[in-house]
Structure formats: C-alpha cells, structure tokens
C-alpha cells in the first residue's frame, strides 16, 4: 500500500513538474497583442461573410441549403435554419461581429469570443459545402481565445488611460495555454508539411505550378511551363520549410535561426494570400508569430516602457478543467489528422467527429489533395436576348472568381470538395447549375433583358505533368437555359423538376 502511494505521488509530481514547466509565465501584453490581432482578423472575416451573404448564406444564392442539410445531415445543428429570415441571419452576423469587437477592445473578451465562435460555427455549418481552411482557421483562433489568458492588458482601459501600459508591460501570466497553442502549431505544420510528401505532384516539384494555375489562384493563367523550374524551388521550399516552422517555438530567445525562420514564416504566409488566396488562414498563422516571439516582444515592450520595474505575476489562474480539456483537444486533434497513417488511420474519422461535435473542426491536409483536385475550368458565357445579337459576358458573373467560387464549381466536375455521398453528386451538380443560372438571371437582369437564351461553354480538364499548359482540356456545353421574366428553364442538360425538400 505504501509503495502504491509512493508511486502515485511520484507520478503526480512528474505531471506537476511538466505542468509547472509548461506554465512558466509569459508577458501578458504579448498575449493581448495576439488577442487584438485576432479580434481584427475575426472582424474582417465577419465583413467578408456580410459581403458574401447574398452569394452563399442567403436562400437565393449559389447554395441550396435544404439539399445541403440532406447531404450533410450533421450540419443541421446550427443557429441558422431553413426559413429563417434575412434579418435574423444578418442580426446573428452582427452579433458575431460585436463579439469580435469585444475581443479586439478587451471588453469581456472571453464572452465576445464565445459569441463570435458560436456564430462563426453556425454559418460554417450552414455553408458547409464551400468552407475551407480560411473558415476553420477563424474557428481555431476563437477557440484559443477561450483559453489563453487574455484581457489582462492592452484593453480599452489602457487606450483610455485608465490603466498604465508601462506597468502592464511588466505583467506576466501563466504560459500553459501559450505552449499548448504551440502544440497545436506542431500538429498543424507537421500535418500540412509531411502529408504533401504523399503527393506525386509535390514530390516531382510540379504542385506549386499546378496550384497557381488553378481557378482558385489569383494568378491563374500567368504561369507558363517555362516557369516550372523557378516554381520548383518554391515547391521544395514549401516541402522543407513547412514541417520545420513549428520548431521555431523551441529555439531560445534571440537565436539567429529563429529570426531567419520567422522571416521565412512571414514571407511564406504573405506569399500565399498574394498568389492563391485563403488570406484568413495565412494571416492567422502570421499572427501566431506574435506568440512564437513572445520573449523578444516582451523585451521590446519593456524597453519601450522605459522605466525598469519589477515583474508582476498576474493572479489569473487557469480555471479547473481547462487544462485537461485542452490536452484532450490536442490529443483528439492529433488523431483526427492521421488519415492514411498506417495503424492510426482508424482514429481519424472518430477524431474528426469529436472535433466537429466540439465546434472546432479542423483539417490540416492542405494542398496534399492536388493530385486529385487538379481540375480546372474556364467558361464562355454567350447571351442571346430575344430578337437581338448574341454577346459574351465575363464568367465571374456566373461563378465568383474566388476560392469559394472554385469550390462550388468542383461539384460540377468529377471531384468532391466535401464528401457528398454517392450518387447524390448528381443532385448536387444539378442544383449547383440551377442556383447559378437563377442567380445570374436575377443579378444581371438589366444586361440580359426580359427574355433570351444563355449558353455556357466550358473548357475543362486536369493540369498535370502530361498537360502542364492545359492543351488537352476539352470543351463541353455546360448548360443552356432560356430565361423569361426572371424564370429559368433548362434546355441542356435536361434536368428534372425541383422536388420540394423539408429542411
């Protein structure tokens, strides 16, 4: 019995020692700088959701939400529901944006984070077919806001002079969750980096060229096969750098490699939004640099504060249960990323389900799918108003030239961004064409006139090593429809009448 107690006690002290080591204090202003930047990014994200409201979240946008709820039954649990009014949905978004503001200004930031998080998750479920890493990164930031010791410094009080920032510069807080966040970064980068090695295109140095020429990239069409050798370096830089980035968190303060790595990290994540898109995911990771360089930034704050003061340790304590909760989360997150890993792959689906239930669904397999999702599509839209000459209109009027715009078009091709159960891909394809046609006719009524015919011809195919330039793309008539007084009738393909669906 004595031996057992002693074993328990030594086990407890080991856990305590680990916990104490992970809890070494960090500068509170740095954690709050991270909070402020997160608040800004989340607020910008809400502006984007507002801006995209009519395209995706509204009932008459590109998504048939009733069908989506049938295909992805697990998205039914959300604050947005079929039949809810635009006023209600926009009100929810406003509430979420206010939550982001409260994170930003540090007024009840945890409550603000909870509100913004619930709204963000609700809209992600509502628009599930088109969500991507941009969306899940915002969820991730808000999730960490719930745990990090935020709101101690640099709040609205500081800016109004009610609290002295020079004193705040010397405040330190428990660093457990900062280091737990680093563990999340390890899972993120190791998954994103190492899984690319499973892709033939990445290994051959062609992936970056293909990605940059897909419709999801801002630079589609700018890159020619003669640029492949240049992009080969970018391709291999990604393969090498991405798995190494999280190791910066282990380097000591001021280490030259840490600065070099930090610059690479920054440039890498700045380069992606400039060339491809997905800005929120990349800015989220740029923001994470604040925590990676927490020691250096704390010193800088103190230097700026001028006077030498004694450090003060905040009385903030991690609430009971939160440490266990975050360790459990990290463990589940790790398991959820083990798709295709021998021996562990059995865990990825339950892991994903658990993350989804917890409202923090993440997917760090980034661009390792390029060998499957290397489809590209260009549309030519020819409008023939009744009794008038035909003319062409830009294809962005039918599908937005954005990452989400590409994702929605993926359902027209033999690929599934989200795993639509087979053979319901057929229903999804029809509804995508139908919703796009109706939206186009409604939005462009002045251009189209009262009656006429629209013919969409598409050049479609895959970019790969056999066809880097897209010479082997083939031409198809994607759809032809007649419109009259805002109503759309499909001529080709002949698609069945819409059946009413219960939400």
């Amino acid at each position: 019995m004595e031996m057992e107690n002693s074993a328990n006690s030594s086990k407890a002290s080991f856990v305590e020692r680990i916990s104490a080591r992970l809890s070494r204090p960090v500068g509170a202003p740095v954690v709050d700088l991270f909070r402020i930047l997160t608040g800004c990014l989340v607020l910008a994200y809400f502006f984007r959701i507002f801006r995209e409201y009519s395209t995706y979240s509204a009932d008459d946008g590109l998504l048939d939400h009733n069908l989506l709820r049938e295909l992805f039954w697990f998205t039914k649990l959300t604050l947005v529901f079929p039949g809810s009014s635009d006023a209600y949905r926009l009100g929810l978004l406003t509430l979420g944006a206010l939550g982001a503001v409260s994170v930003l200004v540090g007024w009840r930031p945890k409550l603000g984070a909870v509100v913004a998080w619930v709204v963000v998750v609700s809209f992600q479920r509502w628009n599930f077919a088109v969500i991507n890493v941009d969306d899940s990164s915002i969820t991730l930031l808000l999730w960490w806001m719930l745990f990090l010791p935020i709101g101690q410094t640099l709040t609205w009080k500081t800016f109004r002079g009610r609290s002295d920032w020079r004193r705040e510069a010397f405040l330190r807080v428990d660093g457990f969750f900062v280091r737990a966040f680093f563990a999340n970064l390890f899972i993120y980068y190791l998954t994103a980096g190492l899984t690319k090695l499973t892709s033939e295109l990445w290994r051959e140095g062609l992936a970056l060229y293909v990605v940059l020429n897909l419709p999801l990239a801002r630079t589609q069409g700018l890159w020619q096969p003669e640029h492949v050798s240049l992009l080969w370096f970018g391709n291999h830089f990604t393969l090498i750098a991405e798995p190494l980035f999280p190791f910066l968190t282990l380097l000591r303060k001021g280490h030259p490699l840490k600065y070099f790595g930090g610059v690479c990290w920054f440039m890498f994540h700045l380069g992606i939004p400039l060339t491809i898109g997905v800005p929120y995911a990349n800015f989220a990771l740029i923001i994470a640099l604040v925590l990676v360089f927490h020691e250096e930034l704390t010193d800088a704050f103190r230097k700026k504060a001028g006077s030498e003061q004694a450090e003060v340790l905040s009385d903030w304590k991690a609430p009971r249960g939160t440490r266990s909760l975050i360790v459990t989360y990290l463990l589940i997150l790790f398991l959820a990323m083990q798709k295709n890993v021998p021996g562990l792959k059995v865990a990825w689906e339950p892991g994903m389900a658990a993350l989804y239930l917890g409202g923090v669904a993440q997917e760090y397999h980034l661009f390792d799918w390029i060998d499957r999702f290397n489809w590209t599509i260009y549309h030519t839209i020819e409008v023939t108003p009744e009794g008038k000459e035909s003319f062409e209109v830009p294809s962005e009027l039918l599908f937005p030239k954005t990452v989400r715009g590409f994702i929605i078009q993926s359902y027209l091709m033999p690929m599934r961004w989200m795993r639509v159960p087979r053979p319901l891909t057929g229903e999804m394809r029809n509804t995508t064409m139908r919703m796009a046609a109706r939206r186009f006719v409604r939005n462009e009524s002045e251009l189209l006139g009262g009656e006429g015919t629209v013919r969409v011809t598409s050049r479609v195919g895959r970019l790969d090593k056999d066809d880097l330039h897209g010479d082997q793309l083939w031409t198809v008539t994607l759809m032809t429809f007649h419109y009259k007084d805002g109503q759309v009738v499909f001529l080709q393909p002949r698609i069945p009448e819409e059946t009413s669906r219960e939400g």
């Binding site: 649990l77 909760l325 239930l357 033999p414 393909p493």
Partner: protein, 252 residues
C-alpha cells in the same frame, strides 16, 4: 473560461449526441450497408454463401430506403449492385432488368443527360455487347458515350474502354467505316491507358483492330508484333489474376 463553463461546454458536446443520432442514423446505416454490399459484390466469384449474404443485405438496404422515405437517387446505386451481382451469378436477364431500373432511377432523379444516367447506359451497352446483342450495345454507346466523355474527359480509362467496345461492336456489325474512325481517334489514348485495362479486353479489342487491318481499314501494329492482339496484350499489366494497375474509378 470559468470552471462552470467547462462543465457546461462538455455537457453541451455530449447533449448533442442524441440529436446527431436522430439526424444521422438512417443515412449512415444506409451508407455502411451499401458499402458492405459493394465490397461483397466486388469480391464475389460465384460463392453460394456470399451470394446469399449479398441478397439478404440487399433486402435490408431496400427496407432501409423505404423506411427513410428516400426520394433521392440512392436507389440507383443499390439497383446497380443488384445488377452486377446478377451478372456475376450468370443471370443475364436479371442483370439487364436491374441495370435498366437503375438507369431509370438516374434518368428520373438526375435527368436523361446526366453523367450517372449515361454511365449506367454504357454499362448496359457493355452487358448487351457481352450478350452479343451488338445492335443494342451500339445504340447505347452512341447515345451515352459522349456524355460520359464530356464529364470524365477523353483520357479517362473508362471512356477509352467504352470507345473500343463500341469499335468491336461496330466491327461485328460490319460498320467498318464508323469503327475505323473511332479507333483512329482513340488509338493513342488506348496505348496510354492500356496498363489500366484487363488483358481480356485488350485481346478482344486487338482482335477487332486486326479485322479492320485485314480489311485495309486500319494500319498494322508496330512491326515487331504480328497482330494488334499481341501488341495490346504486351501493354497489359494483368497477370491473369484479374488484378490490374490501380486506376481511377469511373467516377461513379
């Protein structure tokens, strides 16, 4: 996050479970059941016990669809599997019936121009071809192959296979001009995807090309090979076990 909020959060996570079970029970059960059927049908090689198991699983799946009140195209997928099982069991009439029903489901739910309807139609064509009903096969190939090609692309192994099945059927019907034109158009593609085709298909395709060649309608094989059959057979990776290089599915 305060202590009580952790408890509330954990409670909320678990409290959702009954709702997810309610929403997901039927579609998930169906998905698991139909995947099980598909695996069994794929591995079926005439074993009586397995055939009985699949038949019983199919019954269950039909009951599930009825209980779900399903109005989607799921039925088409089940009928397709029923058709494949019937074909593999040596019941061609039942196979045709099941595939025709599957085709009708896709026509009704996705439309006559849809990929799924077209893919089913060319499967039916293949069935008719294997039953030596070449005229019926050609009708189906001609109306549906272009739709499958538009969706999957001309380089896809399934599309190329269908093109050369049509060539073979046309050769039997004596429509050499049409056969020649399709063969010329797709020959390079066939070479590119030959390693994804089974040797039986390559041999029979080679036989048709040899007939065209003898009639002066088509060029001969590379000099070191006497016939198209032997040339195409040399491109096969099929070792006789029925296993060929893993290729993309037909996108179904």
């Amino acid at each position: 996050m305060r202590d009580k909020w952790v408890a509330i959060y954990v409670f909320l996570v678990f409290a959702q479970l009954p709702l997810y079970v309610r929403f997901g029970e039927e579609p998930l059960k169906f998905e698991f059941a139909v995947k099980d059927v598909e695996q069994k049908v794929q591995s079926y090689q005439g074993q009586q016990q397995l055939a009985e198991e699949v038949s019983s699983s199919l019954e269950e799946v039909y009951t599930m669809l009825e209980t779900m009140g399903d109005e989607s195209s799921r039925m088409g997928r089940v009928k397709l599997n029923e058709g494949i099982l019937a074909w593999k069991s040596g019941k061609p009439d039942e196979a045709v019936k099941a595939l025709e029903e599957s085709y009708q489901v896709f026509v009704e739910k996705h439309g006559v121009d849809s990929f799924h309807a077209a893919a089913l139609d060319v499967r039916l064509a293949e069935l008719y071809y294997l039953r030596r009903q070449y005229q019926d096969a050609v009708v189906r190939y001609q109306r549906s192959s272009p739709k499958v090609r538009d969706y999957l692309g001309p380089r896809h192994q399934f599309v190329v296979r269908m093109a050369f099945r049509e060539v073979s059927a046309l050769v039997v019907l004596g429509r050499d001009g049409e056969a020649e034109s399709i063969a010329r158009e797709n020959m390079e593609l066939l070479k590119a995807v030959a390693d994804q085709q089974d040797s039986q298909f390559l041999r029979s395709t080679g036989g048709s090309l040899d007939i065209l060649h003898r009639k002066g309608r088509f060029a001969g094989p590379p000099k070191e090979f006497g016939t198209w059959s032997s040339y195409l057979n040399s491109l096969s990776t099929d070792d006789g076990s029925g296993r060929v290089k893993k290729s993309e599915s037909d996108g179904f």
